[in-house]
């Protein structure tokens, strides 16, 4: 019966393999923070539109052939990414090891028990930009490490201001005073992103922070809003009423507002740094090439404060190879790889030193201005109920901008709603 022998042999072989496989990974384990298990892992993030991941993944894979990282790409839209993460993590699946998550999801994911708490001693967070690191914290623990960050900038028409012998504005008052110049040139004065979507929350938060306020504090348990919020929202609502913000801006998301600026239809635009490269491009549709500049966002009495964007790396609580996942997170977010990433994308790094890097500045001249803005940037409300919070903000801020609610009424309604959300507890 040779056949039976073969079968037995096969079973024996499988058994041996399984046993050795089980014994292997747990040795060492010493990553600290309770992260254990090594082996091939997955890195999951939204569609890599700028091709920034392959370089770092390849470098890691060459150095760690037994702990290879493979990327799982999720859709490009943040909403769609989040629902994929939520579906997968709710099912406690171990398919995702390292998660590339939007900065506003940290609290929700951490509170749900989906993330591994990271050991602060293992990451050089003290050397990184403080506001960016803050987006990875929730309830006193560190859950995620910034991979890149992002802050708003004020793009302005240098040619028009120069001709009139004016300096770019540092405050809203200075900006509004310059609006007559826009009128003379028959273009809109100022715009941000005011359609009813996440960008409105970003712009609203910046208006509140410009007045020295905040939306929520204490891990989303307290609603701050108050007078600064009313001041900020009133500024935006008046902008629409008085025509300093052109009417079409109520439909603008990032792309539409960037198009308007690049087509020469706006004097001031609040947008993310990505617009810099587009506005500098040699293209027939580009009317502002060589005619624009950037400054940090203005505020009411001095410099403003940007909302923080960006992507953080976190480790899934359900990963079976957390040690590898932690090590890869450390590797991908280190300064050397961050520099490479900035060189490829022009995204804002989480490492302050890189903003002064002559090589990078040559390629992306806006970096020093961005650095200035990043020092005072603030995370959007840190709360496990972020989706509900941002919906309530958009609802009321949009009504105020449309003139359907007085700004103070909108802030009152928003406060009531946010208090309800904060009070729902566990």
């Amino acid at each position: 019966m040779p056949r039976r022998l073969v079968k037995l042999g096969f079973i024996g072989l499988v058994a041996v393999l399984v046993l050795t496989a089980c014994g292997g990974p747990d040795e060492g384990g010493g990553g600290g923070g309770g992260a254990q298990g090594t082996g091939p892992i997955t890195f999951v993030a939204g569609k890599d539109t700028s091709g920034k991941y392959p370089a770092v993944i390849n470098k890691w894979n060459t150095a760690h052939p037994d702990q290879k990282v493979s990327m799982i790409e999720l859709p490009e839209a943040a909403d769609a990414q989040r629902s994929q993460f939520v579906t997968n993590l709710q099912a406690k699946s171990d398919r995702y090891d390292v998660l590339g998550i939007d900065v506003v999801w940290t609290a929700e994911f951490a509170k749900s028990g989906w993330l591994l708490a990271l050991d602060e001693g293992q990451f050089p967070v003290n050397e990184m930009l403080k506001p960016a690191v803050e987006t990875g914290r929730f309830e006193g623990k560190l859950w995620a490490i910034p991979y890149d960050t992002n802050g708003g900038l004020l793009f302005y028409r240098k040619d028009i201001l120069d001709k009139a012998g004016k300096e770019p504005p540092k405050t809203f008052d200075e900006m509004t005073a310059l609006c007559s110049l826009a009128q003379q040139n028959n273009i809109g004065c100022y715009s941000g992103q005011f359609a009813k979507y996440e960008g409105l929350t970003v712009n609203f938060a910046e208006a509140v922070q410009a007045a020295g306020g905040e939306i929520m504090t204490d891990n989303g348990t307290k609603v701050a809003l108050g007078a600064p919020a009313t001041q900020g929202l009133t500024f935006l609502a008046n902008g629409f009423k008085d025509g300093e913000i052109p009417k079409p801006a109520i439909t603008y998301m990032e792309q539409q507002s960037q198009r308007a600026f690049v087509a020469g239809e706006l004097m001031f635009l609040r947008n993310w740094p990505y617009v810099y490269a587009l506005a500098a491009k040699d293209e027939p549709a580009n009317k502002v090439r060589g005619k624009f500049g950037v400054v940090p966002l203005p505020g009411f009495t001095g410099a403003g404060s940007s909302s923080l964007g960006g992507l953080n790396f976190a480790v899934s609580a359900f990963s079976t190879k957390q040690q590898t996942a932690v090590e890869f997170t450390k590797f991908a977010t280190n300064q050397e790889n961050a520099k490479e990433m900035v060189g490829l994308t022009g995204n804002a790094p989480a490492w302050p030193a890189l903003y002064d890097d002559p090589e990078l500045i040559k390629k992306f001249p806006h970096l020093p201005v961005l650095k200035e803005g990043m020092q005072t940037a603030k995370p959007r409300p840190v709360t496990p109920y972020y989706q509900e919070v941002t919906t309530a903000i958009q609802e009321n801020a949009y009504a105020a901008l449309q003139g359907q609610k007085a700004p103070d009424q909108a802030i009152n309604d928003m406060t009531t709603k946010l208090n309800e959300i904060a009070a729902q507890g566990g």
Partner: protein
Amino acid sequence: MATETVRRGRVRRGPGPAQTSEGARAEARLAFWLLIPTGIVLAVIIAYPVVRAIWLSLHSDARFGTSRFVGLDNYIRAFTGTGADAFWSAFVFTTQLTIVTVILELVIGFAMALIMNKAFRGRGLVRASVLVPWAIPTAVAAKLWEWNFTPDGVVNQVFNTNILWTASHWSSFWAIVIADTWKTAPFIALLVLAGLQIIPGEVYEAAKVDGATALQSFRRITLPLVKSAVIVALLFRMLDVLRIFDLPFILTNGANNTETLSTIAYKEAIQQVHPSYGSTLSTITFVYIIIAAFLVNSLARADVVKTASRG
């Protein structure tokens, strides 16, 4: 119809005294077993999600805790409670959208079908070009119209207007209606065209011989004979628009009270991670669609019978 009756009759007669043949019973048993796989598939992909959604809708949402049975609380919340404003606004908007788009699409689609049914040179080209919008995926079409409706977009340029399409309720309404009609009038045209083509030419010839005018033969021949195709098209479109999602989601994202029943259900269930309340909203939508389909179907059928007896 006739063959169906015969077949059904035979199976029913199976155990009867006349033909208590072992063969017939075996055949029935075989039929039962053959239907089992289909039954299982339907149970898994249709019955389970429906029952599960209803079951979920009777529980509370606890994002970070455990949910418990709350009976009809979620339904009360949607109809008269804290969710009532959002729900009724979406309900009314969806219904308005359905009525207006379905009527527009029927009229335009019917006209397209009449044109495509005529024999003329270049008919193939016309047929192909009419069907192009239908061939474009809805999400792509929605993105396309999003750009068409921007303040400096194609629509404003062509009509020399300055409308902020997505910035107020009624302009958003018409933006969605226009985009949806553009996209799906060809679908109705296709169904109606199929109906038109089975009307034999002799009937029209006979009418002509009897001295009927073009209008008369349209009203007395074309309309009644194509009616069942139209009803099918009407039902399809009605069901589709009642659960419309892509267009409003992409064009307005629900701004200015342009949420539809599907967008609020999606936002609750997926974005806010409130699966129970989201299920409640989808269950209500589901029931609403069934009732609407039933009403329209019985009204339309009654009308067919009336027309037939009158004619």
